[in-house]
């Protein structure tokens, strides 16, 4: 062993404690320069069990004068440099959930589920967390109830007390009345199909009448003049408005 060691590192190297040289990085000083004939062939030494010195020293010797130089990371490694949502084909999910507003309540996600499901589960002990923390004590299988067991489910006649009727209470659903009103004027159908029974149509016809318009205007004028005399605090504004129109 010492013979092989000396052939590799020379006689002077044997004095160096093996532990410090085998690590490949010391207290900050670069390793002592190796003999010229040894630098070119460090790989010739057969690997020895328990002696990792040459294997670790190898890059240091090759990368002179950079004794702490390490291999750079491989370029094709998946990092945060790439858009990971695109990489994992999650654009559809991203657009679905982040593109539009997701409704806050659980009843919006499960609209068909009966009962008040928007209340916190901790209130009535129906939380899923409690199911995990304290799993119910029961057998492994479900067996149907026989005649004798069903006798335990004979109920009293009559309605349930108020506090147990939660099953029928549904969360209030928002009505979209305003939306309907908004869409009406855009709808071309009512204009194309005239009908005498439609009260809105009648109103429109009245508005179109020029005599009625004139009368209306006159009425308005009178009203404005009245307001000038009746309400002195607003007179200036009213006069301005009147003059402007």
């Amino acid at each position: 062993m010492t013979e092989m060691f000396s052939t590799l590192f020379g006689q002077n190297e044997t004095q160096v404690p093996p532990g410090s040289s085998s690590l490949g990085f010391g207290p900050g000083k670069p390793p002592p320069p190796l003999p010229q004939n040894q630098v070119a062939m460090p790989g010739q030494m057969p690997p020895q069990l328990g002696d990792e010195g040459p294997a670790l020293r190898k890059p240091g010797a090759m990368n002179e004068p950079f004794y702490l130089l390490r291999e750079l990371p491989v370029g094709n490694e998946l990092t945060g440099n790439t858009n990971l949502i695109t990489h994992y084909n999650l654009e559809h999910a991203y657009n679905k959930f982040c593109g539009k507003k997701v409704k806050e309540k659980l009843s919006n996600f499960l609209p068909e589920l009966p009962g008040m499901i928007d209340c916190p589960g901790t209130q009535d002990g129906s939380s899923l967390r409690s199911l995990i923390d304290k799993p119910p004590v029961c057998g492994n299988s479900f067996s149907p109830l026989t005649g004798a067991l069903l006798t335990g489910f004979r109920l009293h006649t009559g309605p349930l007390p108020e506090q147990y009727r939660l099953m029928h209470i549904q969360p209030p659903k928002k009505k979209s009345k305003h939306k309907h009103k908004h869409h009406r004027p855009q709808d071309p159908l009512p204009q194309e199909t005239p009908s005498d029974s439609d009260p809105k149509k009648k109103k429109k016809k009245r508005d179109d009448d020029p005599d009625r318009k004139k009368k209306k205007k006159d009425k308005k004028k009178k009203k404005v003049i009245k307001s000038i005399y009746q309400d002195p605090s607003n007179s200036q504004l009213t006069i301005m408005y009147y003059c402007g129109s």
Binding site: N81, L106, G121, F142, R154, R165
Partner: protein
């Protein structure tokens, strides 16, 4: 994969509907309803058996515990997915920013070091190449 979920969903819907009907029977119980109640109770048990059978098909499905917290609070669990995606994208952008900054820093450092230590940097470039991967 979707078939498994459809199967479970179908059984769950049937189970919930049965429970709803059971609730209606119980809410105003009449003596004549006893036979119907017994039938519904056994339907409930068979429903639980069906759901139990679905469990075997869904062994590899992992559900994050945070989703349960959302459900327990009466919140839409899709909000969890939304927040996860938003957080992932934000972190992705942060990391990309860091990588870009470090890349710029590296090229700047190499150019500055090349001015001060031209020989050493020439050796460095000989080892790692001119445009080493960052």
């Amino acid at each position: 994969m979707a078939e498994k979920f459809d199967n479970l969903e179908e059984h769950l819907e049937k189970f919930i509907e049965n429970i709803r009907q059971l609730g209606i029977i119980v809410s105003d119980f009449q003596p004549s309803s006893q036979a119907g109640l017994n039938q519904k109770l056994n339907f409930m048990i068979s429903g639980l058996q069906d759901i139990e059978k679905c469990r075997q098909q869904l062994h590899e499905i992992n559900v994050p515990l945070e989703v349960f917290e959302y459900i327990d609070q009466g919140r839409n669990p899709q909000l969890y997915t939304k927040e996860c995606l938003e957080r992932a994208l934000a972190r992705n952008e942060q990391v990309k920013g860091k990588i870009d900054t470090m890349t710029k820093f590296k090229s700047l450092l190499i150019s500055e070091l090349s001015k001060v230590f031209p020989e050493e940097m020439a050796k460095y470039k000989a080892i790692h190449g001119e445009d080493a991967p960052s």
